[in-house]
């Protein structure tokens, strides 16, 4: 993005107090942690203002100044509290170095329209900070789980060894437990058995129906659509209760078939939604052209239609797969101990004997979801490109 506004250096009366304010806030944090908030505020403000004055008015070279601040504050941190504090100090240094010059050079105005008032510029930047905080809220739980899964202790929090980056504080023992414990391996095997079968059923039925639904004249289209989407809308506990009652009547409760059928039903809305979305841009003259050249309906489907909607079908299938792979409530009721899946094992683990192996499993599942997310995103872009909906 090109700069919108020409920038110029700001007067010392502007940036020095702002940096001092930020320093005071940082000082407050460090001060309370050390037991004296007031001293922290004063020290932070004076230190940061002094550093800002030194770097902008006396040193005047940006890059060495910023590196200098990283080293200085990192070193100070190391003296106070070892390696972890050194890293925090270095981070503070990097931030303040950037912040001082960002203000000093007036860069904060470069990417906002020139007509904004100072208040509006302030709001513009605070708004981004707020959004950043919300995005951090979204991502933190996932980020916290990953390092904790390498904990050498059976604790769910960071031990002092971990904070000191002591190698003794880390181990792979929870992963080892996951790969050797029979309970977990059995659960994994069940999940791997059930999810693909359910996915296959949802994709086969769902794709056919989606093609049917996107024809020009479908009687009761709205009602049919409402029924087919309903497994996604009806609360899982209600589906689970109903399936439990009904499947026990017909002898499917506690069987693999029962769980697979239930999961297939839950996955179908996702297949329907993604495949119909892909079919929206489908050019029907292609099938007519194929028929014109002598292809039968089956050949047309597999040689013309299928390759074009394949990205949608695959991402629908991935959705169905993750639905089944991640599903607890229904399997809890429809399955019996013999069909215990990975999420079920995690659920009992979280409710009863809470063990950190769960965090190792969670990390593996996060990596799996990142892989699936990447595939789906790539497929979506490919499908849009194929249908000429977006230039990329």
């Amino acid at each position: 993005m090109a700069a919108l506004t020409p920038v110029s250096r700001t007067p010392i009366s502007f940036y020095l107090p702002v940096v001092a304010l930020a320093g005071a806030i940082a000082g407050l944090l460090v001060g309370t942690a050390q037991g004296s908030p007031l001293l922290g505020i004063l020290g932070g403000a004076i230190l940061m203002a002094g550093l800002a004055f030194l770097t902008t008015q006396i040193v005047k070279a940006e890059t060495p100044s910023r590196w200098g601040m990283v080293v200085l504050l990192g070193g100070a941190g190391f003296l106070i509290g070892g390696l972890a504090a050194a890293l925090i100090g270095a981070a503070f240094g990097a931030f303040f170095g950037w912040f001082t010059f960002w203000l000093f050079e007036g860069r904060y105005r470069a990417y906002v329209p020139p007509y904004l008032t100072p208040g509006q510029v302030l709001w513009h930047h605070s708004f981004r900070v707020i959004c950043g905080a919300i995005l951090v809220f979204l991502i933190t739980p996932i980020l916290v789980v990953m390092p904790l899964s390498f904990n050498a202790q059976d604790f769910f929090t960071f031990t002092p060894e971990m904070l000191r980056f002591d190698p003794a504080g880390y181990s792979l023992k929870h992963y080892e437990d996951f790969f050797t414990n029979l309970d977990w391996q059995g659960a994994l095997a069940n999940s791997v058995k059930i999810a693909p079968a359910a996915t296959l059923l949802s994709v086969a039925f769902g794709t056919l129906a989606a093609i049917g639904l996107s024809q020009a004249h479908v009687p009761f289209r709205r009602a049919i659509m409402a029924i087919l989407i309903s497994p996604m809308i009806v609360p899982l506990i209600i589906s689970a209760a109903g399936m439990y009652f009904f499947y026990s009547r017909i002898g499917l409760q506690g069987t693999y078939l029962g769980v697979v059928l239930a999961h297939a039903a839950l996955g179908i809305p996702f297949v329907i939604i993604t495949v119909t979305a892909t079919l929206v841009g489908f050019d029907n003259s292609l099938t007519r052209a194929a028929a014109n050249m002598g292809a039968g309906p089956v050949t047309t489907f597999f040689r013309v239609q299928m390759p074009l909607i394949l990205p949608g079908v695959i991402s629908g299938g991935l959705f169905a797969f993750i639905t089944s792979f991640d599903e607890v409530v229904v399997v809890l009721f429809v399955g019996s101990a013999g069909q215990k899946t990975l999420p079920w094992q995690m659920f009992t683990g979280l409710r009863e004997q809470i063990s950190p192996t769960i965090l190792a499993v969670a990390t593996i599942l996060v990596i799996l979801s990142i892989a699936l997310l990447t595939v789906v995103e790539m497929l979506r872009r490919r499908s849009e490109r194929l249908r000429g909906m977006s230039p990329g």
Binding site: C131, L138, F155, F156, L208, G212, V218, I224, I233
Partner: protein, 546 residues
């Protein structure tokens, strides 16, 4: 000048049929083909999903257990007037004796007891106690008959008296070690006419021994109940002079003797077991729940109960479900509100950033969306614990004292934080897709016409983003009120939802009817919202992952 159609008649297709017919046929064929493609899935969903839901709705009103277990009592009880303040007639008590005797042999009386206990506390133990002691009532007659003549002691002589000759021959030929089926009991014709009650109870007994216990009928002594029935038959003094089959002499002897027998007063005997049997309320409960279908579970689900004067509220201290529904709705609203509050700025930022940056940030939104629900819930459990990451950080920063760690989990706070995080992507994605369509020039135009920042946002931008808020809110709200896993794991006792109660009734208290009724109410709520969603957004427009 003449019209072309007048010259040639209706326009024809190539094969000579009128074009209109031909087109109609093509259209019909197209419709049929579309339906044929949809049909397999529709049938699949109807069987695997809609039928279970219908079954659940059926269970919420079904109530055959009372009339199945106490068939004679409920029939007689239909004429009883509960308001009169009098306990039912002796015939009802006699029918109750027969019903409970059969039920306790088939081990059904405790199930019925637990069923009625949902409506009136104490009935469960009443039935259990009665089941243990009805045997004694019959033994009064059994002992007297057996003292009178050894004939009455023996299973063989009983079978000879009650069974038909054909059946006796078959039963004698049957080898109980073999795999062949035991010949089914057939009663003797004359006995049915002479001793109707005895024949009836003996048939029940024979059926139970042969089909439920799968024992050899020839070796099983009759229940005490059969003796009571025999006494009741003989005291009527039937004309048995014409009967010449097996046991005719013993029957005559017994008929002469029964007049001197010690009798059982069933009304008093039941009072002796438990004085609750003379409590009008117990009988009113049985009478109220005699029909095959009941609204009782639904009344229960809204803290009401059936009474002889129609539905009434339960006492204050037994009201839990309305409170739970209100709590579920309130917490879902709070969660929806926090999702709007947190989702709106992020969606705005994503919609207004250049595409490349927006796509990068979108990953941060989509990653939690794709991550397993249990992973996210366990992450929150880890973070919010007393010794968890959040509390540790707060203590380290000196914001809270070590002794005053915040209780962030196993209460409403925990549920609200975790569920807001889990449902936030469902708010951001619809908001984003709506905001993407609002041209940024509108805001600039408003400002150039003199609007302040706030006015421009509130009067120009916000109204255009309302559809997105509506779509996102309904989606989040629907998902929130049905949530089970997260409240179960981080909600403790005060942060649970109605769905946790449903699960409790299915798996722990086994009150399936109540679970089904609660589920039906929740389902109605969700379907109403689903309908609203369809009106506002359209089901076809549901988008997944941007």
């Amino acid at each position: 000048m003449r019209d072309t159609t007048d010259q040639t008649g209706p326009m024809m297709a190539a094969d000579g049929t009128p074009l209109k017919t031909s087109l109609n046929r093509a259209l019909r064929r197209q419709k049929l083909r579309a339906l044929a493609l949809i049909a397999p899935l529709l049938i699949f969903i109807l069987v695997t999903f809609i039928a279970p839901i219908a079954d659940m709705l059926f269970r919420s009103v079904e109530n055959q257990i009372v009339s199945d277990t106490l068939p004679r009592t409920t029939t007689l009880l239909a004429d009883w007037e509960g308001d009169s303040g009098e306990i039912p007639s002796p015939e009802v008590f006699k029918a109750l004796y027969t019903d409970i005797f059969v039920a306790q042999e088939r081990k059904l009386h405790t199930r019925l007891g637990s069923r009625l206990n949902y409506e009136l506390t104490g009935v469960s133990s009443l039935f259990r106690k009665s089941g243990r002691r009805v045997e004694d009532m019959g033994e009064v007659y059994q002992d007297q008959f057996e003292d009178l003549n050894d004939f009455w002691k023996d299973s063989e002589t009983w079978n000879a008296l009650m069974g038909s000759d054909d059946w006796l021959a078959e039963q004698a030929a049957w080898d109980d070690k073999s795999d062949a089926r035991q010949p089914a009991f057939e009663p003797r014709e004359e006995i049915i006419n002479l001793l109707p009650q005895t024949a009836e109870t003996f048939e029940i007994f024979a059926d139970f021994v042969q089909n439920e216990d799968e024992d050899n009928l020839a070796k099983e002594d009759p229940w005490a109940l059969v003796y009571s029935a025999l006494y009741d038959d003989l005291i009527q003094e039937p004309d048995i002079s014409g009967y010449g089959g097996p046991g005719s002499a013993e029957l005559l002897e017994a008929m002469a003797a029964v007049r001197t027998f010690e009798t059982v007063d069933y009304t008093a005997a039941f009072q002796d077991i438990d004085k609750d049997w003379h409590d009008i309320e117990v009988w009113q409960t049985i009478q109220t729940y005699s029909p095959d279908f009941t609204s009782g579970y639904f009344l229960n689900a809204v803290d009401m109960k059936k009474s002889p004067d129609g539905p009434e509220m339960r006492p204050e201290n037994e009201q839990i479900y309305i409170k739970l529904f209100i709590r579920t709705l309130f917490m879902s609203l709070v969660i929806t509100g926090s999702c709007i509050l947190l989702g709106y700025p992020v969606a705005w930022l994503l919609a207004n950033l250049p595409a490349r940056t927006a796509n990068l940030l979108m990953i941060l939104v989509l990653l939690p969306f794709w991550t397993s629900l249990l992973v996210r819930t366990s992450a929150w459990k880890v973070m919010l614990q007393q010794q968890g990451v959040v509390n540790d950080t707060l203590v380290w920063l000196g914001i809270v004292a070590d002794g005053g760690r915040l209780a962030l989990i196993n209460n409403q706070t925990g549920t609200i934080i975790a569920m807001t995080h889990i449902l936030l992507p469902f708010m951001i994605l619809p908001l984003y897709s709506v905001m993407k369509t609002i041209p940024p020039s509108y805001l600039r135009a408003a400002k150039s016409l003199g609007a302040t920042n706030w006015t421009a946002f509130w009067r120009v931008y916000f109204p255009q983003s309302v559809p997105g808020i509506g779509a996102g809110s309904i989606l989040v709200f629907i998902l929130a009120i049905g949530y089970y896993i997260t409240p179960e794991l981080v909600g403790g006792t005060t942060g649970t939802f109605i769905s946790n109660r449903i699960a409790y009734h299915i798996s722990s208290s086994l009150n399936w009817g109540l679970a089904a009724a609660l589920g039906a109410i929740l389902l109605a709520l969700v379907l109403a919202l689903y309908w609203a969603y369809d009106k506002i957004v359209g089901i076809d427009n549901v988008k997944l992952g941007g």
